[in-house]
């Protein structure tokens, strides 16, 4: 499996890009002497004009490169944690629905459908606006709008695994139902969940950046979306202020998507190259 993943050029490009972003995020305080909030030069300094400030300064004279590095922290953190929370909601719900069927399934799926009908970005905006933008509320809002596909996936997987012979064998061996679900069925659904999770991190990063672009970012955390939002009104005079953070988002999201596709091909070889949208 690892071999198949490694031979996938796209996936390896994704790994390298993501590793670079992670390293920059971790070592941001070591690489940059300036914090992202500190005024270091005159405002609107163009990129590549000073060696110490390779990407120039923003509207308040702050170091754009340092802002990018610190922004990576927020993006990765929110992307990862919100995906974990979404899994914590979606996996149990989908597993119970798929395993027990009947009324449990009916109820769980109605609930899931309801959340799928609501325009998810609009719901995220409403949640963050009402509960004040903090990293916690943003993360939670993203998780709340992204768990439904997980629940549906896990439900479908559990339903198909549940009918397999080893489950009958476990039942005959006298194992209790919850134990069979947790020990026998769920471990067999892990690989599609991993694939979906890697793509969800990418979507979560896009969502977080969109929220902070609209001014719904945590005011105490520098993020890429905030940078673009703040630079929106000065796009005519300072294009680089919105250009670079956008490139950072594209690179990170692209890397995660490439990794997700690579994992998909490696874990489900019979489905390879279908590129589920």
């Amino acid at each position: 499996m690892w071999k198949r993943f490694r031979s996938n050029i796209g996936a390896m490009v994704g790994v390298v890009l993501l590793a670079a972003v992670i390293l920059i995020a971790i070592f941001a305080p070591l690489i940059f002497a300036n914090t992202p909030w500190q005024m270091v030069q005159r405002p609107f300094l163009a990129p590549f004009s000073m060696d110490s400030l390779p990407l120039g300064t923003d509207t308040l004279g702050r170091d754009v490169a340092a802002q990018l590095a610190y922004g990576a922290r927020v993006s990765l953190l929110v992307g990862l944690v919100s995906t974990l929370v979404a899994l914590l909601i979606g996996v149990p719900l989908g597993a119970l629905a798929g395993f027990y069927g009947g009324y449990v399934d009916e109820g769980a799926m109605r609930f899931t459908e309801f959340f799928q009908t609501i325009p998810n970005f609009a719901l995220a905006i409403v949640l963050v606006a009402i509960f004040e933008p903090t990293l916690a509320s943003i993360t939670l809002a993203i998780a709340i709008v992204s768990w439904p596909p997980v629940a549906r996936l896990v439900r479908a997987e559990v339903m198909s695994v549940r009918k397999r012979e080893f489950v009958d064998a476990a039942t005959l061996a006298g194992l209790s139902k919850p134990r069979i679900l947790v020990r026998q069925v769920l471990p067999n659904t892990v690989s599609p969940i991993i694939v979906m999770a890697s793509l969800m991190v990418a979507t979560a990063i896009l969502l977080e950046s969109s929220l902070s672009f609209l001014g719904l970012g945590d005011p105490n955390a520098m993020s890429w979306g905030y940078m673009i939002g703040a630079a929106r009104t000065v796009i005519r005079s300072a294009w680089w202020l919105s250009f670079f953070p956008g490139i950072a988002i594209v690179i990170t999201v692209l890397a995660l998507n490439l990794i997700g596709e690579g994992l998909n091909d490696a874990l489900n070889p019979h489905l390879s190259r279908k590129g589920k949208a």
Binding site: I118, A122, A129, I130, F131, I228, R232, I249, K274
Partner: protein, 325 residues
């Protein structure tokens, strides 16, 4: 007849969903930190003491929660979405005034993304493994990873600021006073950039889906039969593969309607497009919760309507569904 019953049951379900969203809105208003009356009135200073006292009385904020909920729902059923103290107007009027612009934008983007996405997906699938396929797939992957609002900003920068080809701002030329055909052309010019940037992301999604679906169907037995009959590749693709491959794409398009409406908030913000998305953005800074929740409810209603329409289209395209249901 079955279609009629299906539509009726869908409508009943839609009404239930909207009711649930209204309840959710109510819960959110009460979950917001602070006095609900102050929350309803918007950011401090927008309403004076007297107004807040009036609000308290009107919404019965001293009564038990279920009575308040009943009043709230009754209001919504009568299309009373509350009052925006920021804009000094009923929320429903604000939304009604802005809704046409959003409908124009989202529908145009939807049609562009679906037709171009399917066409490009078919083209890529027909050339699978060749350079042009890789090029299209890579481009789709790139657009798939690009934030919508950033793409919009870059489009403004290139096509409006640098090249000066298209207006990057607003719905029509202010003060130009065009009428009839000239006005339509003017609006169309303003529509191109927002609709294209909103559509590109979804175009990438539909293209990937169409390509994958075409490749999957092309291994089916009936395609082999068609080949054995000696039909040409183009005919097989159009008549046999595409007709079957398009179904999951239509399903996905229906599911994505919500994202399209959500994306409109970002696109309208960048292009100052006077739709309900822009209204939501303006209300965010003012903490105008009534308007925010009103837009939320209306956009959910739009998505439900969209889903019903795709459902009907789906039934027409694939008669097997009616038979099964």
């Amino acid at each position: 007849m079955t279609i009629l019953i299906a539509i009726l049951s869908r409508l009943a379900k839609a009404a239930l969903t909207l009711l649930a969203i209204a309840v959710l809105n109510f819960c959110l208003l009460h979950a917001a930190p602070g006095d609900p009356a102050v929350v309803l009135a918007g950011e401090a200073g927008a309403a004076d003491e007297q107004m807040i006292a009036q609000l308290r009385e009107r919404f019965g904020l001293d009564q038990p929660l279920y009575v308040q909920l009943g009043k709230y729902i009754a209001g919504i059923v009568q299309l009373d979405l509350g009052y925006s103290f920021r804009q000094s107007a009923p929320v429903i009027d604000l939304i009604a005034e802005r809704l046409p612009a959003t409908l124009l934008l989202t529908l145009t983007a939807f049609v562009i993304s679906l037709t171009c996405g399917i066409a490009l997906g078919v083209a890529a699938a027909a050339r699978v493994g060749k350079v042009s396929d890789s090029l299209l797939t890579t481009l789709a992957l790139l657009f798939y990873a690009t934030p919508l609002y950033w793409l919009a900003l870059m489009a403004v920068l290139v096509f409006s600021v640098w090249l000066g080809w298209l207006p990057g701002f607003g719905y029509e030329t202010v003060g130009a006073d065009f009428s009839g055909f000239a006005r339509a052309i003017d609006i169309l010019k303003h529509l191109i950039l927002p609709a294209l940037t909103l559509g590109l992301f979804f175009m990438a999604v539909y293209m990937r889906m169409t390509r994958a679906s075409m490749l999957e169907v092309s291994t089916a037995d009936f395609v082999k039969t068609a080949k054995a009959k000696g039909l040409s590749g183009a005919v097989i693709r159009r008549r046999h593969i595409l007709r079957n491959a398009i179904l999951p794409v239509v399903t996905l398009a229906g599911l994505q309607a919500g994202q399209l409406v959500g994306g409109a908030v970002l696109t309208e913000t960048v292009f100052a497009w006077p739709g309900i998305g822009r209204l939501m953005f303006e209300s965010l800074a003012a903490r105008d919760y009534n308007t925010i929740l009103g837009v939320f409810l209306v956009s959910a209603a739009m998505v439900i309507l969209f889903n019903i329409v795709t459902d009907i289209v789906y039934r027409i395209v694939d008669p097997r569904i009616g038979a099964r249901a």
